[in-house]
């Protein structure tokens, strides 16, 4: 009976880990679906191509080849080493030891050797990334956007990966029945230990490794690291139109049409409830998914002309603020069964007017994002709400609007002079 005890504990922990993970993922899914509907299922072939190029192929990361290569190592390591989890989980559930070594025969060592090489490389890269983040003064990492939790979050992830990889290697090193390519270099440090101690080291490393993986899995949804999952749907739903296009507002288009041609107006035309977005729930679900997908890398803000000239606006902060807001709303709904106003809105309380006013709509942030997030889309939706719902525009813009209305140009010139230049050629 005692023999079954570890298996039962393991099974329960596995169930708990996956159960909690699925629960949180469902909560995030519901939070994303609080956003407005938008249709993004056209041209599936082109969309799958984006999944392969942007998410799987990390094409845009290669705008900076060295960092891209380092990131790729962690990424491939992450995916491939996780194959080993199949064996670890099977062993845990069945109470076996290296259950796949028999069926795989000679290939088994080959597999584990590959995992070990990757584990070693991932460890090195994680150390390099820790140095980059904390010692080298790289602008996008020292940025105030990351003050507090976000900076800690990034470091936790790197440290967790180093620990997990080390445990994996230590576990193999303590297993005297096998000789693998990297762990065999660690084994000599363990010499002098009795077989029992080695067994204890191996078992401890095994347990800590898998429990660490479970903990990490459940940490993901609270972390910027969620991008490893959401990068895929995000790439699938990436826009397939030129970046210059601002999405149309059919409600307003119709209103203008009916004003100009009243005969076309249906008798039961309803006025739309609101224009643009003041609250996160008035953004599209795509905007909200992007907020959860953001890995806070800051490439957008480095390229942003406003951020880089010291304006308050930072596109990365726009995404982080949107995620914070929708998380708060989602928690509020879970606790109260419906949203009970907390007296706050995304616009004003999370993102200020000054930030929105600084955007030049240059698309540099959109261009730079490795997974095609558009902070610009959110900025524009908030600007629409500011101007159309709250009539909140700088004096000069109000002047520009009235010039367009009365003089058909943003400046106050006589419309009759529009072709005056033709008399000078």
């Amino acid at each position: 009976m005692m023999g079954l005890f570890p298996q039962i504990i393991f099974s329960l922990l596995t169930l708990l880990a996956f159960g909690l993970f699925v629960k949180k993922i469902n909560e995030i899914r519901s939070a994303i679906l609080l956003g407005k509907a938008t249709f993004l299922n056209d041209k599936p072939l082109q969309r799958w191509k984006n999944v392969f190029l942007l998410a799987l192929g990390q094409k845009k990361m290669f705008r900076n080849p060295i960092v891209a290569l380092l990131h790729l190592i962690i990424y491939i390591g992450f995916i491939i080493i996780n194959i080993e989890l199949i064996e670890i989980i099977l062993d845990g559930l069945m109470g076996t030891h290296r259950i796949l070594s028999k069926p795989l025969g000679n290939y088994y060592s080959l597999f584990i050797n590959c995992f070990e090489i990757l584990a070693f490389l991932v460890t090195i890269v994680c150390i390099l990334f820790l140095v980059r983040r904390n010692i080298l003064k790289i602008k996008r990492f020292v940025s105030k956007d990351l003050n507090g939790w976000p900076r800690t979050d990034a470091n936790y992830i790197l440290i967790a990966e180093i620990i997990l990889m080390s445990l994996f290697l230590l576990m193999n090193a303590a297993d005297t029945n096998y000789q693998f390519i990297i762990s065999s270099k660690i084994s000599p440090w363990l010499h002098g230990n009795t077989a029992d101690t080695l067994y204890l080291i191996e078992k401890s490393a095994w347990w800590l490794h898998i429990l660490g993986i479970y903990a990490f899995m459940n940490y993901l949804p609270y972390s910027k690291h969620l991008h490893i999952i959401l990068a895929f749907p995000n790439a699938y739903y990436a826009p397939l139109i030129p970046k210059g296009v601002m999405h149309n507002m059919p409600a307003i288009q119709n209103e203008v049409l009916y004003a100009m041609q009243p005969e076309l107006a249906p008798s039961d035309a309803l006025a739309p409830e609101s224009f643009g977005a003041k609250e996160a729930t008035e953004l599209s679900w795509k905007n909200l998914m992007e907020a959860y997908s953001c890995s806070e890398c800051g490439r957008c803000s480095t390229a942003c002309p406003a951020t880089s000239t010291g304006k308050l606006l930072s596109p990365r902060k726009i995404m982080m603020a949107t995620r914070d807001r929708i998380e708060t709303i989602s928690k509020n709904i879970q606790q109260n069964k419906q949203f009970i106003s907390d007296g706050k809105t995304l616009l004003h309380d999370y993102i200020s007017v000054e930030e929105l006013r600084a955007c030049t709509t240059c698309n540099a942030c959109v261009e730079e994002c490795p997974i095609s997030i558009s902070p610009l889309d959110i900025i524009m939706e908030l600007r629409r709400s500011l101007v159309m719902e709250q009539s909140n525009a700088p004096q000069e813009w109000n002047g520009m609007f009235s010039n367009i209305e009365n003089n058909f140009a943003p400046w106050k010139f006589a419309p009759d002079d529009r072709d005056a230049w033709t008399k000078q050629v």
Binding site: K243, P410, D419
Partner: protein, 259 residues
């Protein structure tokens, strides 16, 4: 040289090969008018049968839309599309990347479908087809130039090569700025910023871009957008009152290099 309006052409029962959309800056701004005149001169020399809308042209609505005023945008778009469709316009060329983007990408959803090209693309075509001939001994030969990508031409519509090819046809030495093409830095005017004071920060965006242009030590800075032109001219003036580096539109450069 006579510039015909659509109304005049239609009165004679004629249809132009292409409509030249002048834009508000090109029509009213003194500096941008020079670009308009240069481009009209090129069209004339190339023997293109073109027309302008003249007094019937209105703002496309771009600055209103980017500022958040969708109502104003839709009003302007409605008026312009009525007029363009009324004249059965098929092809449009414009010297303004903002007008270009709106006409090309945003009017189709509202019932305005036209083949829209930017003047740098049109110039590239005119040179390639031999409709305009670059003089062997043009005044730009051997001079150095740096080209500033307009966001609405570049990232927004991925037109990076046409303007560069036009400049290369002049035997000029094209020097790239630190940030160019898809990484190009905005001049600071887009998103209706042209019509308001910049938000507070450590530096003006146009000064930042002017510094990058000056760093290339080029004789000239080429632009392809009337707003970039203004912003860069101001930015360079801030750093160098004598304006040793002048900012010219690609149309102005070409106009002086053809017969």
């Amino acid at each position: 040289m006579k510039v015909l309006t659509m109304a005049e052409m239609a009165a004679n029962g004629e249809q132009p090969e292409i409509l030249f959309w002048v834009g508000c800056a090109g029509s009213f701004d003194q500096r941008a008018q020079k670009i308009t005149k240069a481009f009209a001169t090129i069209l004339d020399k190339a023997g293109i049968r073109y027309a302008i809308l003249g007094k019937e042209e209105s703002c496309t609505g771009d600055p209103a839309r980017r500022a958040g005023n969708e109502f104003m945008f839709q009003m302007m778009a409605y008026q312009n599309i009525q007029i363009l469709n009324g004249y059965q316009i098929k092809k449009i060329v414009t010297t303004c990347p903002h007008c270009f983007n709106t006409l090309k990408n945003e009017y189709p959803a509202l019932g305005g479908n036209y083949d829209v090209i930017h003047h740098t693309q049109f110039l590239e075509e005119l040179i390639a087809s031999g409709k305009i001939k670059i003089l062997d001994s043009n005044e730009w030969k051997g001079k150095s130039i740096t080209y500033h990508d307009s966001c609405y031409l570049g990232r927004a519509n991925e037109i990076y090569e046409a303007p560069r090819k036009v400049l290369e046809s002049l035997d000029m030495e094209l020097r790239e700025m630190k940030r160019c093409k898809s990484k190009g830095l905005c001049c600071g005017a887009g998103g209706a910023q042209m019509f308001k004071e910049e938000e507070k920060g450590d530096k003006r965006i146009n000064t930042e871009r002017a510094d990058e242009a000056i760093e290339t030590k080029s004789d000239f800075v080429a632009s392809a957008c009337p707003f970039c032109n203004t912003m860069l001219t101001d930015g360079i003036k801030n750093r160098d009152e004598d304006m040793n580096t002048s900012v010219l539109d690609i149309a102005e450069i070409i106009e002086k290099a053809i017969q």
